[in-house]
Symmetry: C2
Subunit: 504 residues, 2 copies
């Protein structure tokens, strides 16, 4: 078999494995949108069978042999060529997937299933102690898996790499530290002003049916193609790119909070536009046909949610539209008042409800805790104390109960350690990309005033989406912006924006 | 490997294959309910991959070996025991699936896909000639497949057996012939009276949202469990039993025809109750965990649709409910007028819109034609002429165009020859079963007057549903009713009912 033949065979195998993955995506989506309660057992069996088949096929030594047969040949001699990038990422994934012993994978799956159930209960009961034994077990197994993967530096690197391939904790901690210090100062500044936007505007009555109409209008303006996707309702919003031509997003409607569904839809549509913009028609099944990292994925959703959706220019166009749809709720609302309300900044306990400024503080707190937990510097039993101490430091308020503190997120119970930083990375990248887009398209914000986002989308397609995993996140960032990862663009953006809103 | 071990291994293998089948069912359902247009290609690839995997796994010689290792052993020595029935049906399916050469399966798949597209176009254009070349090819391939399967008597038997295992054309033709003769007489009698129910009642304005409310109320009364199923909208209504705990039904709403969705929901709910009543928890994956034939399946849907849903007693309870929901449309309607309207009999071109009496004539005509086509007594080119001649004979009216005649059904273009008789068999069985249920539960119709169908459902569960494929349809029918298949119960039921309505 020539290297070219091996590459073609690998492409064929990977496409089949991805087709199985896309079936899993449909089943997962359906489970959360329409499945009747009684279907849960059957669905679990279907998903577990498919997961087993996918794992078995991808970790088959034949796949390893095919990768080896292409490596160091002419097929991949050009760095960052499609072929080279595919083989680079397949090697990376193959080595990771074959490093975990099956017994550990199964025990992690079993334990995290139990732990997620226990966590949900513990959060409801505000009972950390009840959750602790399973949390300890998940953390033990997670550390074991980091050891199996292997790492340089600290164990966190092995896990971070699952979501942000190639990123290191040392590198991002160097950016997160000044970010935290500057955010704490910015928050103090905002809180020091006497200006308090009237947040009650967004807490009026907003008929969910009309929210859907407005949300679809906005998503459509972003470029979400309803011929190649859908918007449905789930408890926890998500985006799932099944494959070429089919990308689903979901949201949840809160009758008395306009922000939740609206910015949720813009956020998920941002993810979807990335999925829709990757060249899946050509590369489905291979890494270049997939997103490069969760951080880059999150940069897309956060940009549409914040830099676009929470901009004044956006609302110059869309507030009049919204007024036509929500006649009563918005009749007396001015642009400035509305803009202030959707950008209201205040420390709060719950990450997913946080504003743009405090959101990153939530992440940084978790990142620092996770790092220490994985190094066994913090024992699981000490998490609540450590959490609350830091929370007071960063936000200036005391955590009143663990369900508003360390019990709020599902991630640790699900074994997703190393995942949180991708949210903050997404914010950092979003600001860096957006600043560059503004440089490249000088009248970008004027286009927003006309409800026109096509040039922004075109810019994202050309500079980010179309590459898929061709470049790792860090390299992509540098290629697009000419700058290394930095907290400055995000801070500049927020300082300017909230300075104007809060008058400093 | 002992016979018992072989049986257990076979059970395990079949369960996995059925799990893959249940994934196919979810994907098929989703394709028709929610999938955006752009997802069609990906979905086709997913379904074709799964179909290939299922076929490959089931026709693996290992499966044949396992079946052989159980046959003629103590495990299956009791006739119609669970084990014996499972092995009997698996042998039957395995032999059939391994008899078609792969090339023929692929050519049939390709040709029927093309033919269905061409048929849809031809029906729209009323252009039989345009469809003819592909129809000829489908028929040729279908006859080839019958030859591969092998048969006693005529080729039709090989195909009929795909849908109605063990049934023979000789046996059912012996029942269909007197049925046709008696139906033609009954129709003439009905048309000879001066009574004409006011069918316009069901053609008033019925808000689809309210039709859904009413439909769900009725399905719930039948016993359809919405915790273990859903009702959605599709162009062509269907029922899909995914597996234990999850059975989906669909309907379509016509604002100006109450019957379509209402009796459609009752019909699909009838199918669903069968699926829900089979002991899938215990036997999922094995034949005993599946329906025994399409004729028996259809008997369940038709019984709920006709013997229940079109009975006067049903409407004694439900018309007042309907009046509360459709206030305007039904305000002035009496029970007798409504009962007459939903039971209006009139010859018409389109099978799926036919009334209870003429419906079977539509089927019998197709059955007779199909039989002659497969024996090559009728050439494909002569189908329109043969169709129209018979139609005049049976219905007393001339077919005005082929789209109202031989072009109306999808079946032949899809290669589904031998399928039609199962509809008529369903009607025959439904009447036979219902007559027996009335004997066993003397106050059954009084129960309907109270909206109580639980004893009927219990009777069906105990006598029919719980057996799955344990008994072949014919044997099941005889076991339940003590009588062979006969057209008498259906004719008695219709003569009594329509005699009362039309006054003869």
């Amino acid at each position: 078999m020539t290297p070219k033949e091996a590459y073609d065979e690998l492409t064929k195998q990977c496409k089949e494995i991805s087709l199985l993955g896309s079936v899993t995506a449909v089943l997962g989506w359906e489970e959360r949108t329409y499945m009747p309660r009684g279907g849960a057992d059957l669905r679990a069996q279907q998903l577990s069978m498919l997961a087993g088949m996918i794992h078995e096929r991808f970790t088959d030594p034949k796949i390893g042999d095919l990768i080896s047969a292409v490596e160091n040949t002419d097929v991949v001699k050009v760095e960052d060529s499609i072929e080279a990038a595919n083989i680079r990422e397949l090697r990376h994934q193959y080595d990771k997937e074959t490093k975990l012993p099956k017994s550990l994978v199964e025990e992690l799956a079993k334990t995290t299933t139990l732990a997620q159930g226990k966590w949900a209960e513990a959060r409801k009961q505000n009972d950390f102690k009840a959750f602790l034994p399973l949390l300890e077990k998940v953390i033990d197994l997670t550390i074991q898996s980091a050891e199996c993967y292997g790492y340089e530096g600290e164990p966190y690197n092995a896990l971070l790499d699952n979501y942000e391939p190639g990123a290191t904790v040392e590198e991002i901690a160097g950016v997160f530290k000044p970010l935290r210090e500057d955010l704490v100062k910015l928050l103090a500044k905002i809180q020091g002003t006497s200006k308090k936007p009237d947040v009650s505007i967004i807490e009026r009555e907003y008929d969910p049916e009309l929210q859907k109409v407005f949300g679809e209008m906005v998503a459509g303006a972003q470029g979400f193609d309803f011929n190649n996707g859908r918007l449905d309702i789930t408890t926890h919003p998500f985006c799932s790119g099944f494959g070429p031509g089919d990308t689903r997003i979901t949201t949840r409607y809160n009758r008395n909070r306009l922000n939740d569904a609206l910015f949720g839809i813009m956020h998920e549509a941002g993810h979807a536009l990335y999925e829709m913009g990757i060249q899946k028609d050509k590369h489905f099944g291979m890494p270049v046909g997939e997103a490069t990292s969760l951080g880059i994925h999150e940069s897309q959703s956060r940009m549409w949610e914040n830099q676009v959706g929470r901009s004044k220019e956006f609302w110059m166009y869309f507030l009049p539209q919204a007024k036509r749809i929500f006649r009563e709720a918005l009749a007396d609302v001015s642009l400035d008042d509305f803009y202030g309300a959707v950008n209201y900044v205040t420390p709060s306990y719950i990450r997913v409800e946080a504003d743009e400024v405090t959101y990153n503080l939530h992440i940084l707190l978790r990142f620092e805790l996770e790092r220490a937990i994985l190094k066994r510097e913090i024992k699981p039993a000490d998490i609540p104390g450590e959490w609350n101490r830091r929370f007071k430091d960063y936000f200036g308020i005391e955590v009143d109960k663990d369900s508003n503190g360390c019990l709020q997120d599902v991630h640790w119970s699900a074994g997703l350690m190393g995942y949180f930083p991708t949210y903050a990375l997404g914010n950092l990248y979003s600001a860096q990309f957006f600043a560059k887009a503004q440089q490249d398209i000088p009248d970008l914000m004027e286009q927003f005033q006309r409800g026109d986002f096509s040039q922004l989308l075109g810019w994202l397609r050309k500079n980010i989406h179309c590459h898929g995993s061709r470049y790792r996140a860090r390299k992509l960032g540098e290629k697009v912006t000419g700058q290394p990862l930095s907290h400055k663009p995000l801070l500049d953006y927020m300082t300017k924006k909230f300075g104007e809103i809060y008058g400093f």
